[in-house]
Symmetry: C2
Subunit: 220 residues, 2 copies
DNA sequence: AAAGTAACATACAGACATGTACGTATGTGA
DNA sequence: TCACATACGTACATGTCTGTATGTTACTTT
């Protein structure tokens, strides 16, 4: 007889990794849409094609699942947004590229995970809050540093303390991308405009065409 | 014996209004900090100095309480932010004044109510979601109209459709103010900068002193 | 001042979600 | 092929929250 599902006949480790990914993605969607408290593990498992038994076999409890989602989202963000933007030498260009890449990244339905959890756990002492802090804090320092660097070189005008400006930068970016909910193609342009305003930059020259990478667009 | 609390000896209507206000404010703080699902009515009543019995005497259920909070916050916002900003004749000046006033408004601890609920109920069919829609939708149309008006007069450069730009405007504003959590005095400047960027405006002239009205500052 | 009504407290029932114990199926190594 | 480990499903025990029913206190009216 054929195996239960297509391509399921694999090694144990592979099987485990497969279901773990499915559960993580389902949990990410659920967290983004409903938040932590409203997240029903039965629905998370159900939408992934499993039951709560499988979920509790992979994750110790709800907290640990949420922490794993945070780490997973953080990794994909660094791979698709943070890393490529950091590659730019010019700090100003790096900051603008980050905003554009983030807008594209947010076209997926897992964009709200970080913002939702940050709001839900802000000011609380909770393992999930610490996981968020571990993923967000380095960004503030890294990009706050680049803001300071750009100001020293005169590429950016003076302004509030770099770390505060960086906080405003990321808050702005999250706010504008969530409000637009990934409505291409204007999301990229508006995101860049918003952060340019926070940084004290004039509007971008309208000549350069807004490049819109395939944010979960239709296949081939 | 003396009455239970100071100045409690009042008429029934006054007594009712008093506890209703206390419950609303407590619920607003709770919603802002923990969201709807995490909001425990026992804690809401307790922090207001009552029990759940009083709460259920004033509000039919949790939904209605949340709706009342939304209306209450909406009213105070219109009184302190939306109304004064609308009074400006020049659309651009009105849009910038709105951003500054909103930043000041958000120095209170009830600032996150709208954003939290919007995220928690986005894309759901729920009475609270409809209450939010009723309070937010008119803003998008009103201020989208002023954006269109400013573009026609040349005060604003062309951009995405006015309603989409207005969505981005408010999302940006909420994001930047929440990120700064009302940290005066830079919140006002950064909020205005962010929305100027969304609108395609150049940075504000640094000459004019940033006016910071008393956002819950210590009394004289 | 006493009856009556509104405001509020307390006690209880139902729903729902988490976490655990245990059973079953599937893959792995001797 | 047989013993074992891992992946997953099912059933239950526990706690927490909402909503309701009932009792008690504060005010109003006559």
């Amino acid at each position: 007889m054929a195996t239960s599902r297509s391509g399921d006949r694999r090694t144990q480790a592979d099987r485990r990794a497969r279901t773990r990914s499915a559960l993580l993605e389902s949990a990410a969607r659920g967290l983004s849409a409903h938040g932590y408290a409203n997240l029903s593990l039965e629905r998370v498992a159900g939408e992934a094609g499993y039951t709560r038994g499988a979920l509790y076999h992979q994750f110790a409890n709800k907290e640990e699942l949420a922490q794993a989602v945070v780490e997973w989202v953080g990794e994909t963000w660094r791979a698709e947004v943070g890393g490529p933007a950091s590659a730019h030498q010019d700090p100003v260009e790096a900051l603008c590229a980050l905003a554009r890449a983030h807008a594209v990244y947010c076209r997926r339905d897992i964009a709200g995970v970080m913002m939702t959890l940050q709001i839900e756990f802000s000011g609380r002492d909770h393992p999930v809050a610490r996981a968020l802090e571990r993923n967000v804090r380095p960004l503030i320092t890294e990009w706050g540093g680049r803001i300071a660097q750009a100001r020293e070189s005169g590429a950016l005008p003076p302004g509030p303390p770099p770390e505060e400006t960086a906080s405003a930068y990321f808050g702005t970016l999250q706010g504008v991308t969530i409000a637009l909910a990934g409505r291409a193609p204007h999301d990229v342009r508006l995101a860049e405009g918003a952060v340019r305003g926070v940084l004290g930059l004039p509007p971008a020259a309208p000549g350069e065409p807004v490049l819109t990478p395939p944010g979960r667009g239709a296949a081939p």
